[in-house]
């Protein structure tokens, strides 16, 4: 397993948002995570990525326990994420948004910044090349000089995806990548996800658009009230009575 989360619990005050949930993502797989609003999907993401303190459970990446690493440390190990509400850098240009994400830059250490300007300059050329590559993949080349904050909702999702991509992830957690995105853009995003998956990047995707999600994932987890209540092939899982109840239950 590239990503394995066991018995994760997350509480807010007295309220338990995630209650002993576990999830596995195999190397190179695309896995879905669905469930009604408030089921605890984003909270589980938070715990896995180190954004929320888990009150219990372990997270391992490629067999290595990363439960004690801070969020940025997990990213460096190859665990990328996007947010339900995109968190692009609004005042930075699209290009700078992406450039900032390139790992191990000489110009980000004080020693090299002041000690060897030529190394910094050379490294900036590397950063530019990597960013060009990703601009091509996510198709944001024509808006590279615009501020992140001036992009459309769909473009923001693409930008965040591109930013994650630059961190060289082995598995990426996407929180509602299609939320508020028009059908054409959903196609675009799906294409990008597929092509990255072809290069070996695994995905765990939270999404309410089941139709679009089903076209991407091979396996699906269903969460309700903090617990995983089902897992398996999308068609099988979605027809289970318990799953239907969970969805209908929140409507009723």
């Amino acid at each position: 397993m590239i990503l394995s989360a066991r018995d994760i619990s997350v509480s807010f005050g007295g309220f338990t948002a995630v209650d002993g949930a576990g999830i596995d993502v195999a190397e190179g797989a695309v896995v879905g995570l669905v469930g009604p609003n408030g089921a605890g999907k984003s909270s589980l993401f938070g715990a896995i990525t180190g954004y929320l303190p888990a009150s219990g459970g372990t997270v391992s990446l490629d067999g290595v326990d990363i439960s004690r690493l801070p969020a940025y440390g997990r990213v460096r190990r190859g665990l990328g994420r996007t947010f339900q509400v995109p968190r692009e850098f609004t005042h930075l240009s699209v290009r700078d948004n992406l450039s900032a994400a390139v790992p191990e830059q000489s110009g980000e250490t004080l020693l090299k910044l002041f000690g060897s300007p030529s190394a910094v300059r050379k490294d900036e050329a590397r950063v530019r090349r990597k960013v060009d590559e990703v601009l091509e993949i996510v198709g944001l080349g024509h808006v590279q000089d615009l501020h992140g904050g001036s992009l459309s909702g769909g473009q923001r999702k693409l930008l965040e995806l591109g930013r994650v991509l630059l961190t060289d992830p082995r598995v990426v957690l996407l929180d509602e990548p299609f939320g508020g995105v028009n059908p054409v853009m959903i196609e675009r995003l799906s294409e990008v996800i597929k092509s990255l998956n072809d290069r070996g990047v695994a995905f765990l995707i939270v999404e309410h658009n089941l139709a679009a999600l089903s076209r991407l994932v091979g396996r699906l987890y269903v969460m309700d009230r903090g617990k995983v209540i089902a897992e398996g092939a999308p068609a099988d899982v979605l027809s289970l009575p318990a799953v239907q109840d969970a969805y209908l239950g929140t409507v009723a």
Binding site: Y72, V75, R81, E88, F89, A100, Q105, L113, F114
Partner: protein, 294 residues
Amino acid sequence: MTSYLLAIAIQVGILMILTLSLSIQYGMTGLINFGLVAFYALGAYASGLLTVAGWPIAAGIGVAALVGSLASLPLGFIAVRLKAEYLAIVTLGFAELVRLVALNEQWLTRGTTGLGGIPRPFQDQPPIVQAALFLAVVVFLIVVFVLVSRRLTVSPYGRILASIRDNEAAVNAIGKNPSRFKIQIFAIGSAAGAVAGALQAHYIGYVSPDQFVAHVTFMAWMAMILGGTGRVSGALIGAFVIMLFFEGSRFLRDVMPWISEVEMASVRLAAVGLLLILATLYRPQGIVGDYSSR
């Protein structure tokens, strides 16, 4: 008149370095330092003590910068774990602590008596030349800190600083540790504050605890807010305007002879307060604006 202008120019220059210190810390990463005077004092005592003991002045100033940045580290480590407002309180407390140590550790600082006989550079020159050369040193150090600030902002390093100002949580998501950058920036800013203190010590030739009151911190804050938080040119212009105002209002006494010296000091502060209020009303981004508005 020339020597008066030189003296004022030197004070403006020292205030510029102090303001740059804040502008680096607050403007680049939003760190609120209400205890700037502590670093100013540490720099003054460090360089004062060493040069009295025979060290060259340049070395004293260098060590002052080092002491300032080292002293900032524990505060920096605390600060990144807390909200921005807590650093304000912690630094305020630190300033008081430094002042009390200066006051009470007589073996080191000579307490209220103060530390005298601090060497002044270029002492073999005639007074005017001496002051002019001193001013040149001050200007040189301003240029150094301006260039350092520029390198910190217009660079890959600055890209991360801009990202931190924009959305700190998202900086973690690109695998960078915001705390590392904030601690470093706090240390660099503190070094500037300490250098300003060292310069003051070598200019007056004497340090005592009563020079290190909160007023010093607030002069720099007023200058930064007036000039524009976070931009180097804002710090420089703000410091210039504030000093012009304080010195200029000295001549108000000729117009209002009935006011006593003590009253005058209050009137000047009140006037600066009014200037700040007007500035924030009519030009909230400061005279030159901040990094995000360029």
